[in-house]
Amino acid sequence: MSDRKPKNIFITGPISPSFIAESIQKHSTQKAIGGHSIFLGQVRADETEGGVVSAIEYTAFEELAMDNMHVIREDIFAKYPLTCMHVYHSLGSIAAGEICLFVFTSSAHRKAAMDACEETVERLKAELPVWGKEIIAGATHQWKVNK
């Protein structure tokens, strides 16, 4: 394990495009970076039996999620020559069309950044104790299931 500490990955409410822009901007001083890979999760207005999803309400076992994210981060840094990695996940109600997940990896060369981003997304979906409650227009709800 390195000396990296578990970071808080949670943001209350949607992740704004301007937050993403600021995060990108901060990397302009890191001149060994040649490629950034970003994945953004956006809430879909899925049609379900009960109606159309208008929002997803996210909750988490935050402490465990941060511990698990720390393990993922360490594994990914051990596997890929990354310059940096940032992960943010929304909590609370995120309307359809808004962004709920922001994964950002940077490396000298594109392949490492892209592979690390993809693997991080797959792992956090499987390993972080986060739950999405799909709010159906008309006051009912159902729980999201990850594929």
Partner: protein, 77 residues
């Protein structure tokens, strides 16, 4: 002896609460039995159990102030 139980995700639809205290459950299996008695819907639910943030796959003893979390399948991202 008191054990704190944290309930997450769709399981809160069954329990109506996201946290509860259980007395006199000395191990995981007793805890499950007590939970199923109080909330029969839990018996049909799929979830993992973490004790003090460690997911456990077999029966283990609980101690005073253990925190147990009921974790249905994750659906973040």
């Amino acid at each position: 002896m008191q054990v704190k139980v944290l309930i997450f995700g769709q399981l809160t639809d069954i329990t109506g609460v996201s946290e509860l205290q259980l007395n006199d459950v000395s191990d995981r299996d007793e805890l499950i039995t007590a939970l199923n008695r109080q909330y029969p819907g839990l018996a049909d639910s799929k979830y993992a159990i973490a004790v003090n943030k460690q997911v456990i796959n077999e029966n283990i003893g609980l101690t005073d102030n253990s925190t147990v979390a009921l974790l249905p399948p994750f659906s973040g991202g």
